[in-house]
C-alpha cells in the first residue's frame, strides 16, 4: 500500500485535519475572541468542501474494508454542501451570548459526525459500517442537547441517544445473523454467498429495522418528532437532512450491492414500509401546529417517497435516490433556514405565528413557499423532478399501484404545505412577525438554497452525471 492510496480517503483526512486545526484554534483564542471562531470554522469547512470536489480514481484500502468510488465521492460531496449551508445558517444562533462559550464544540461535534458518515458511506465491510454509523450518531446526541438550559433540548438529546442505542442493538443483531449464515463481514463475500433463506430473512428484517430508526421510517419513527422539536433548529435541520441523507445513501448501497441476489425477498418489505411511511407520516403532519414537528413529519414522509426509488433496483433507482437527496438538501435547508431565521429574530415557531408574514417579510415568505412547493413536488422547482424520477424508478419495476399511492400521498401532503402558505399569504394577524434583516451568512445560505432549488431541476446535466456514476458503480 502506497502513500498515494491515502488520497482515496481525502474526505476523511481533510476533515480530521480540520478538526485538529479547530482544536488548536480553540485553545489559541482568548475568551473575548471566541466569536471569531464562527467565520473561521465556516471558511475552514468551505475549504474542506472544495477539496472534496477534486476528482480522483476510486479504489479500496485496508484489504477492502474501505472503498472509494465516484459514487461515494459524490455522496460525500452532497453531504459537504449540505453541512456548509447548515454552518452558514448556524451563525446567527451560535453568536448569542448563551452559546458563546461552546462555539467550537458545535463545529467539532458536527465534523465528528460527518467523519462517521463518510466512513459509513465508504464502508466495505459491516464492521467499518457499524463504526461509521456509531461515530455519526453519538455526537449528534450532544448536539441535540446543545441548548442545555432548555429542558426540551436536553430531553431531545436523551431520547436520541436511547433510541439510537436501541436501533444499533437491533442492527447489530441483524448483522450477526447474516454473519452467521455467510461467514463473512465483507460486502463482496456476502454478496456472493448470500441466498434467501429464513435466517437471512430474519437478519435482514433486523437490519432494515435498525436502518429504519436512522432514516426514521414508520413504524420506527417515534423518536423523530420529539427530538426534532426539542433540538435547536440548526441541529434539527442537520438531523433531517444530513443524517438522514447519509443513512439513505448507505442503505441504498448495501441493498443494491450486498443484498442484490436476494432482491426479490426484500422488495415486498420495502414496499410495505414505503406505504406505511408515506401514509402515516402524512396523516400525522396534517394536525401539527409547531413548525418543527410539522417539518419532522414531512421529512418522514419524504423518506417514504425515497423508498420508491430503492424499489427501482437498477441504476435508475440508485440515481433517483441520490438525486432526490441532493434536491432534498437544498429544499429542506431552505425551509429550515427560514424557520431558523424567524426563530432567531422573534422566537416564533408555530404555524399560526406565521400569519401575515408576507406583509412584513416578503422575501422570506417567498423562499419558504418555494421550498414548500419543492417539498410537495410542484413544478418547476427541483422537488418535482426529484419526485418524478423516484416514481419513474418505481414504475420501471412495475409498481404502478404504489406510484398511485405515492402520488395521492403527495396530494395529501400538499394540503399541509399549503396550510403554511395560507398562514403566510392569506391569514391576517394582529401582531405578525416584525420585519427584520437576517445576517449576511444566513442570506448567503438561503441564496445557495434558492439557486439549488431552481438549478438542480432544470439543469438536466446534474441528473445525467448522477445516472452515469450510479450505473458505473453498479456494473
Amino acid at each position: 500500500m502506497s502513500i498515494e492510496q491515502f488520497y482515496f480517503m481525502r474526505h476523511e483526512l481533510v476533515l480530521t485535519l480540520a478538526i485538529i486545526i479547530l482544536l488548536i484554534a480553540e485553545i489559541a483564542t482568548s475568551d473575548k475572541n471566541k466569536k471569531k471562531l464562527i467565520p473561521f470554522s465556516i471558511w475552514l469547512f468551505g475549504i474542506v468542501t472544495i477539496v472534496g470536489f477534486i476528482p480522483s480514481q476510486g479504489g479500496e484500502l485496508f484489504g477492502g474494508s474501505y472503498q472509494s468510488s465516484a459514487l461515494t465521492d459524490l455522496m460525500k460531496n452532497i453531504l459537504n454542501i449540505g453541512v456548509f449551508i447548515i454552518f452558514l445558517q448556524a451563525e446567527g444562533w451560535l453568536k448569542r451570548d448563551e452559546t458563546a462559550d461552546r462555539i467550537s464544540e458545535y463545529f467539532l461535534l458536527t465534523l465528528a459526525t460527518l467523519i462517521g458518515m463518510n466512513f459509513m458511506i465508504s464502508a466495505g465491510d459491516f464492521l467499518i459500517f457499524y463504526i461509521g454509523i456509531e461515530t455519526a450518531t453519538i455526537p449528534i446526541a450532544g448536539l441535540a442537547a446543545f441548548d442545555k438550559i432548555r429542558s426540551r433540548s436536553a430531553e431531545a438529546g436523551i431520547k436520541l441517544i436511547l433510541s439510537s442505542a436501541l436501533s444499533s442493538g437491533v442492527l447489530l443483531f441483524g448483522l450477526s445473523l447474516i454473519y452467521g449464515v455467510t461467514g463473512s463481514i465483507y460486502f463482496t463475500d456476502i454478496a456472493q454467498t448470500i441466498t434467501s433463506n429464513s435466517m437471512v430473512a430474519l437478519g435482514f428484517i433486523f437490519f432494515v429495522s435498525g436502518m429504519g430508526f436512522k432514516i426514521s421510517l414508520v413504524p420506527f419513527h417515534f423518536w423523530t418528532a420529539d427530538v426534532y422539536e426539542g433540538a435547536p433548529i440548526n441541529v434539527t435541520s442537520y438531523l433531517s437532512v444530513i443524517s438522514k441523507g447519509a443513512a439513505s445513501f448507505i442503505f441504498v448501497i448495501i441493498l443494491f450491492t450486498v443484498f442484490k441476489s436476494i432482491t426479490e425477498m426484500w422488495k415486498p418489505l420495502i414496499y410495505t414500509l414505503a406505504v406505511f411511511t408515506m401514509t402515516i407520516a402524512n396523516l400525522f403532519a396534517l394536525r401539527q401546529n409547531n413548525i418543527k414537528r410539522f417539518l419532522a413529519f414531512s421529512s418522514i414522509a419524504q423518506a417514504g417517497f425515497l423508498l420508491l426509488g430503492i424499489l427501482g433496483t437498477s441504476d435508475l433507482g440508485m440515481s433517483s435516490v441520490v438525486y432526490f437527496v441532493l434536491v432534498y438538501v437544498f429544499t429542506n435547508l431552505g425551509a429550515f433556514g427560514v424557520v431558523e431565521a424567524i426563530s432567531n429574530a422573534s422566537g416564533v415557531e408555530t404555524i399560526d405565528g406565521y400569519n401575515g408574514l408576507y406583509k412584513t417579510n416578503p422575501k422570506l415568505s417567498l423562499l419558504m413557499t418555494l421550498s414548500l412547493f419543492s417539498l410537495a413536488g410542484i413544478p418547476p422547482v427541483a422537488g418535482f423532478f426529484g419526485k418524478f424520477f423516484l416514481f419513474t424508478a418505481a414504475a420501471s419495476s412495475g409498481y404502478f399501484i404504489l406510484v398511485l399511492i405515492a402520488v395521492l400521498n403527495a396530494t395529501i401532503s400538499l394540503y399541509y404545505y399549503l396550510k403554511v402558505i395560507r398562514a403566510m399569504f392569506i391569514e391576517k394577524s394582529e401582531n405578525p412577525v416584525a420585519t427584520f434583516r437576517s445576517s449576511n451568512y444566513m442570506r448567503v445560505a438561503l441564496v445557495i438554497c434558492v439557486t439549488g432549488i431552481f438549478a438542480v431541476g432544470f439543469a438536466s446535466g446534474i441528473f445525467e452525471i448522477i445516472r452515469e456514476i450510479s450505473s458505473a458503480f453498479l456494473n
Binding site: 435508475l316 412547493f373 410542484i378 413544478p379 418547476p380 418535482f384 418524478f388 424520477f389 416514481f391 419513474t392 414504475a395 420501471s396 412495475g398 404502478f400 406510484v403 398511485l404 402520488v407 395521492l408 403527495a410 396530494t411 400538499l414 394540503y415 399549503l418 402558505i421 395560507r422 399569504f425 392569506i426 438536466s460 441528473f463 445525467e464 445516472r467
Partner: protein
Amino acid sequence: MNILTLLIVVPVLTMAGILFTKDMKSTRMVSAIGMGIQLIVSAVLVFMYLGARKAGASDEMLFVADYTWFKSLNIHYTIGVDGIAVAMIMLTGIVVFAGIFASWEMEYLTREFFISLILLATGVFGFFISIDLFTMFLFYEVAVIPMYLLIGIWGSGPKESSAMKLTLMLMGGSALLMVGIFGIYFNSAPDGGPLTFNILEISKIQIPVEAQRFFFPFTFIGFGILGALFPFHTWSPDGHASAPTAVSMLHAGVLMKLGGYGAFRVAMFLMPEAAHEQAWIFIILTSISVVYGAFGAIWQKDLKYINAYSSVSHCGLVLFALLMMNETAMDGGILQMISHGLMTALFFALIGMIYGRTHTRNINEMGGLMKVIPFLSVVYVIAGLASLGLPGLSGFVAEMTVFVGAFQHPDIFHRVVTIVAASSIVITAVYILRVVGILLLGPVKNPHFEHLNDAKWYEKLSMITLVLAIAGIGIAPLWLSNTILDSLKPIVEKLAMAVTF
C-alpha cells in the same frame, strides 16, 4: 427563435418586467402590454399556421422543435402545434388579454396578482404547445398551482376552503394522470427500443390492450377532473364562485379546456382500443354532467354559481362530444371548447363588473339593470343568447355540430344519450332567460342602483374583444371548423382503426 417558444418567453419576460414596477398603474400597464404582445404572437401564429397549411405542409404538427432534456430517460422539450392547438392558443390569448383588463382596478397586492395570473397563463400556453408528455404534465401543474393563491388571496366568500378544495381535487387529478403517463411511457416501446414520452411517436405504435384497459381510466379521469367530469366536478362551482373575476374567466374559459384537450390528445389518441371499450361509462357520466349542470344552474341565486354550474354542463358536453369519436362530433366538441371558453369568460367578466357596481351577486336583489347600465346589460344578453345556442353566435355552431355528430351513431344507446344531452338546450334556455328577466328587465329594485356608472373604457375593451370573437365564430364558423377537421383526421383515423381491430 421558434414562434412557439416565444409564447413561453413573452409571459416570462412580462412577469420579470412586473417585478420591477413600482405602483399599480405601471404594473397593469406592463401586464397589458405583455399580454397584448402575446395576443399578437398568437394571431401571427394562426396566420403562419394557415399559410403553411395552404402552402401544402402536411405534417401532423407544424413548427416542431425538439430539445433533449433528460437524455437517459428520453425526456425532451418537444413543441409543435396542429389546428386544434392553434385554436386553443388563440382562445387563451384572447381570454388572458380580456382578463387583464377585467382586473384593471386590482389594488390589493397588484404585482403579485398579475404575476400569478400570468404564471397561470404561461402554464396553459405551455400545455397546448407540448408534444412531450413530461413537458405537458409539467406545464399542467404550473397552470394549476397559482390558482390556490389567486383564489385564496384575492377571492371572496369562503375563499380559503374553496381554494383548498379546488387545488387538492385538481392535484388529485394530476396524481391519477401521472400514473397514466407512466403507464403510457413504460408501454411506449412494446417491441423493445427506447421508451419515449413523445405523443407523436407513441401514436405510431400500439400500446398493448391489457395496459390500455388499466391506464386509460387513470388518464381520462385525471384530465376529466379538470374538465368537470361528473362526479368530480364539485371543485368547480365553489372555486369559480370564490375566485376573483379574471381568475374565473381564465379558469372556466381556458383551464377547464386543458381537461378536454388532454382527454382526447393523450387518453383517447394514445389508447384508442380502451377508449372504445370504456367510452360508454364516461358517456353516461358526461350526460349526467350536461343535464345535472343545467338543472343545478336553475336553482342558484348567485350569478357566479349559475355560471359555474352552466360551465359544468357545457364542459360536460365537450367530453360527451369527444367520446362520440366521430369526426363531426369531435369537431363540435372542440368548437364547443372554444365557444364556451369565450362565452364563459365574457359572463364572468360581466358578473365581476356588475358585482363591482351593485356589491351583490344575488339575482333577487337586482332588477332593471338595463335602464341604468345599458352597455353591460346588452352584452349580458348577447352572452346569454350565445350560451343558449342562438344561431349567429358561437354556441349554436358548436352544439349543433355536437348533436348532429352524436346522432350519427345508429345504435340505441348513443341515440338515447344524445337526446338526453340535447334536452340540456331547453334547460339552458330556462335559466338564461330567467336570469336575464330578473336581472335586467322590470323596475329598478334598489334605489341605490339608479346612479350606477356604465362600463369604463377598459371594461369595454375587455368585453368587445370577447364579443367579437363569439360573433366571429358564429357568423363564419367554417374556417375554424375546417382547420380543426384537418387536424382531427389522424386522431379520428386512429380511433376508427381501433374499431376494426
